[in-house]
Symmetry: none
Subunit: 421 residues, 2 copies
């Protein structure tokens, strides 16, 4: 069963706007058990939209379009699709009343040009818009002249603004599709998030244990991000849920403590929740990551119960004044060194009174490297009730990737420490 998405909008093809519809719809459709096979963006240009819809209707069981239902001259989707399907447009009384009510509720006169939004292709189901004037439309293309005999397609046209599209999908489209064009087969999917292992190594470790499930049709994908790798398995058909569960168990066993969480987790959310569960607190002392650790931790709701304080101490003076790093240590070993990382972590823990403290000192680059300490060298300190430790890493990346990867390693140092305590 093919599900396709077409996003119309010139702003998507000039790069003025990020296409968040594609991700949102794909994620919702996947959760409902559908398999999205294509996502296409085309400009607000008549022939381009018609060609795209014609091609997609030749393949898709379900086609969703976004945008082009508004009242202005570049809102072309409704007319073009009616033309393509050979349907005439008629004014729908309920849709017109919804437009009138929208303006009345805002004490505004209804602009005459908005009336065009009440024009509906014959046979279409009107999807009322609770947050705007353009109704959505659902049409069963039956029979579909563009497909093999007997095949039909559902065409669902959604308005462009996210605050209109999302509620319309949730309240009307999801149930309509489940009723009229349910997913062919049961689908079950698991995503696990790992850190500390590369993509190749993960594949090497899991392909043997997973082999019998892969041979039986389990889908498997690996996706790398800076400082982490996600692994997804999807099973279809009878016993999908059991197969997905078995696959997840195999992955977790094969990858051990490098697995930090599932679909909805981030490394920082896992860490904040684990610290909160233990009623433990943390402080961070950052040099080259410049606030990135603190920023990530404070993106997690509830971080205020866990993060007591953070310091960004670029200069040696700040390391000494704020964290009590000894001048003699800085002189003997340099700011990027194991002893300074240790004193930063211990100082942050002492000054804040936190259970744990993480510290980072390193060379983010592009300048500042040497033969002994090349660009990307970083020391990560962890101080806690059982003493302190320092890990040395080499992360020779651009500045933002350096920060991301280093913060992953720092969070993981504390996460793995907590696992054995």
């Amino acid at each position: 069963m093919n599900v396709e998405i077409i996003n119309t909008g010139s702003e998507l093809l000039t790069g003025s706007r990020l296409n968040t519809h594609a991700q949102w719809l794909a994620s919702r459709l996947t959760a409902l058990g559908y398999h999205v096979t294509r996502q296409l963006a085309v400009a607000d240009h008549g022939p381009a939209i018609q060609a795209a819809v014609r091609e997609a209707l030749g393949r898709a069981d379900i086609l969703l379009t976004t945008g082009g239902l508004g009242p202005t001259s570049d809102d072309l989707t409704r007319d073009l699709i009616a033309q393509l399907l050979g349907k005439t447009l008629r004014e729908d009384a309920a849709a017109l009343e919804n437009i009138r009510a929208f303006f009345a509720a805002r004490n505004k006169a209804m602009p005459e040009r908005t009336r065009v939004q009440a024009m509906i292709p014959e046979g279409a189901i009107v999807l009322p818009n609770a947050n705007g004037t353009a109704p959505g439309l659902a049409i069963e293309v039956k029979p579909n002249p563009l497909r093999a005999a007997g095949k039909t397609s559902w065409l669902v046209m959604l308005p462009g603004p996210p605050r209109e599209l999302r509620p319309m999908f949730e309240t009307r489209v999801a149930s309509l599709l489940r009723e009229k064009a349910p997913p062919e087969t049961a689908t079950a999917s698991r995503l696990i998030r790992t850190t500390g292992l590369g993509e190749s190594l993960i594949e090497e470790r899991v392909e043997g244990p997973l082999r019998h499930l892969l041979d039986a049709g389990l889908e498997f994908s690996i996706c790398g991000h800076p400082g982490e790798v996600e692994v997804r398995v999807t099973a279809r058909g009878g016993g999908a849920e059991e197969t997905a569960r078995a696959a997840e168990e195999i992955l977790r066993a094969a990858l051990g403590q490098s697995v930090y969480g599932g679909e909805a987790d981030t490394l920082e959310s896992v860490l904040v929740h684990e610290l909160a569960r233990r009623k433990a607190t943390v402080a961070v002392a950052e040099s080259c990551t410049g606030g990135h650790l603190a920023n990530r931790l404070t993106n997690v709701p509830g971080a205020s119960n866990v993060l007591l304080a953070g310091w960004v101490t670029y200069s040696n003076a700040a390391k000494t004044k704020c964290l009590g790093v000894q001048v003699s240590t800085l002189e003997a070993h340099g700011a990027v060194s194991e002893p300074v990382a240790r004193e930063m972590a211990e100082g942050a823990r002492r000054e804040s009174g936190a259970t744990y403290a993480l510290s980072i000192t390193g060379i983010a680059g592009p300048g500042g490297g040497s033969a002994e300490k090349p660009v990307g060298t970083v020391f990560i300190g962890l101080a806690g009730p059982h003493g302190s430790q320092v890990a040395k890493m080499l992360n020779p990346y651009d500045r933002e990737t350096f920060k991301r990867v280093t913060s992953q390693q720092a969070f993981d140092l504390l996460r793995c420490h907590l696992l054995v305590r």
Copy 2:
């Protein structure tokens, strides 16, 4: 001239990943004068990739693909496209050496399966990857059997990770395309970045002054992001460069000091460079933004010359201990108040010795609001050699948008202060 983008990756069709490549590439291609006509995402599935590439090669003068060049079994693009074009793969010595060097620089053994990334279709131009192991590939499909006689197409295959794709595009692909397949008509484009004004207000201010150029065909677009709005003008044909320059002058005059920069600027980079030019320094004291200001400033190369220190002081105890905020001030006014913001900024300036200090204290939400101080209330302090000031804002957004908008306002407070000094 048709330019198409195909993004491969199952994670795009399950909604696991937001497609930022589509926007980034479309934006860069548009700036270079190309007109992107389609963007398509397909899964890591052989027949789907081949069908998509075959169709696109039937239309496109330039086709860019992203993803599928890695070492794992779901990295299919290279093999499938070679097969589609009837090209054999051969191992490229330079590409292999780059892979070896990548692992050697990280003191890691080269996994045998990464060697497949050195396999290159015959006749392809190898685009070295400075930030990863998979080289990009550019192939002139000449003649292109899928198009009318005499037409050729350029096919450019880019690796999936943004930190690999973006530098490869900038250093190799942009110049290759300009040389081998230049845009049909002269195009000149300007982007200006503003903060402090909404989209509607900007449109009102500029549409009169720009009218004569718009009537003559100037393209104009406005795109809002949290805490800033970008305005793009594009002129095509004869005199494009002069028209774009005139439009930029009109925009800058109409929008005044709300314009902070152009295409390549960020608000933090403008601020860091302006402070460096004045040999001034800055410190930041953050409560509810939790390190976001420091993190953004330290994303700018050269920030270490400007940012002396940063504090993340969530708790009242940390505000008092680290920044010298008076307990009596906290008790009389609460942590989220004008006097506390002022004392935080003054304390950060005093403790760090910086020329300027910015402070933030507010209620990010979702909890913690009251009738007097609703969620989103934030005080932004600025201390400097001429005294201190505090701005009160209301930013009732989700947590990450709150941080972004508040940091824009804080940076802009200092930027506008410097403009008049």
